[in-house]
């Protein structure tokens, strides 16, 4: 048994300097980068609403939340860099479409209720995915996830609180919430990835303890969590098949449109082009600034 295998078998953490299979390193970099990209691209749909937030308190909350997402992106890029990846290179891969980010951020935010629903459902689904990742076998990733999960505890709560406020408002406000729930529910379920029988990489990830639960397990957990929350809120989840199954002690639910997921992942979602274009623009516009800072620093370092 190799040291790596022993570490995994003992449920200990793999650390950056350790020897590890090349495939493990690559998988880890890909997963962490994808997660980091999701945080950075995820700033956009909500960021659209910062300047248009309906009160100064909501504006401050949203700004702090979007700022957290930038921070989470950085924690994750840091973790990927411990494996020898390079952030600039990862960003180029994102911009060139060679690395993915979560499909959910390719949907538009049409009203301020979307901010609340993203907090409740999208961040809720992210939490279901992320809490088990705090025990990921790769140490820097697990530690980044602990920090992220702690900080995200405010994200979901602010979203739900916003929705409760709106549901206590006018009929128009309640309609806005229901409309947002209708649009975000299915894409949220898709955040857990394809069904287990169509998820070829999962087995290896489970064996390496990169992943602790299957896609379908996590999806079920999310549905079970969300149904009572929706009831408390007074909204209807847009799934006629949703029903408590006493035998399974879980909710039964309908099948997400997996063709839609495929389309969105492969670049054909409502906002894919827009999201990448914005990221590319910021990177291009910032190039002269980054170069200048480097030139300035170089002038001040005494020649060796």
């Amino acid at each position: 048994m190799s040291t790596f295998e022993e570490t995994i078998a003992r449920d200990q953490r793999v650390e950056p300097g350790d020897e590890m299979p090349e495939a493990y390193r690559k998988t880890m970099i890909r997963q962490i980068a994808q997660h980091a990209h999701s945080e950075i691209i995820g700033m956009q749909p909500e960021g659209e609403w910062i300047t248009r937030a309906p009160s100064l308190r909501r504006k401050a909350i949203l700004l702090a939340k979007v700022q957290d997402e930038a921070g989470h992106g950085l924690y994750l890029y840091s973790a990927a860099e411990t494996l020898g990846a390079d952030r600039g290179d990862l960003t180029r891969r994102l911009i060139e479409g060679r690395q993915k980010y979560s499909s959910i951020f390719n949907y538009p935010t049409l009203s301020f209720a979307d901010v609340g629903v993203i907090g409740w459902l999208v961040d809720g689904a992210a939490i279901c995915n992320q809490v088990p990742l705090c025990r990921s076998s790769f140490g820097p990733y697990a530690r980044a996830m602990i920090r992220i999960c702690k900080e995200e505890s405010f994200h979901q709560r602010q979203g739900y609180e916003l929705l409760m406020t709106m549901m206590g408002g006018t009929p128009a406000q309640r309609d806005m919430v229901q409309d947002a729930v209708n649009r975000w529910w299915w894409p949220s379920l898709m955040m857990f990835g394809p069904p287990d029988d169509a998820s070829p990489n999962s087995a290896q990830s489970m064996a390496w303890k990169i992943k602790r639960h299957s896609n379908d397990e996590l999806r079920q957990r999310f549905v079970d969590m969300s149904v009572p929350q929706a009831e408390a809120l007074g909204v209807t989840l847009p799934d006629p098949e949703l029903a408590w199954n006493a035998g399974r002690e879980h909710y039964d639910f309908g099948t997400p449109d997996w063709d839609e997921l495929k389309r969105v992942i492969s670049g054909d979602g409502p906002c894919n082009a827009e999201r990448i274009a914005r990221r590319r623009q910021a990177d291009d516009d910032g190039a002269w600034v980054r170069e200048a800072a480097q030139a300035f620093a170089a002038k001040r370092v005494p020649a060796p």
Partner: protein
């Protein structure tokens, strides 16, 4: 092509007086001043710190994974360094 990537810095934060600085992660910056600013914004947004150290990642010397046995295992049998090695009668107070 010139690489315009800012160098990587490791960040250490003292959470409260009386505690050690603890490694919290890394970030990119063009120089030390920028690294300190960035560390403050990135790692102490929630009052997590009273003091920050930054050090360029390429300046950190580290024991290698291959050295692990030579470095750390020799201390494994020095049981006499631990207080529990010594038997003291239960009737003796405060020791």
């Amino acid at each position: 092509m010139i690489n315009h990537e800012w160098p990587l810095f490791e960040v250490f934060v003292r959470a409260k007086r009386g505690l050690n600085h603890v490694h919290v992660g890394s970030l990119r910056a063009a120089d030390h001043e920028m690294a300190l600013h960035h560390a403050r914004d990135l790692y102490t947004r929630r009052n997590e710190g009273v003091s920050i150290w930054v050090v360029r990642s390429d300046q950190v010397a580290s024991s290698s994974a291959e050295d692990k046995q030579a470095f750390f295992e020799p201390s494994g049998d020095k049981v006499y360094r631990h207080p529990t090695y010594y038997t003291i009668p239960g009737s003796v107070p405060h020791i």
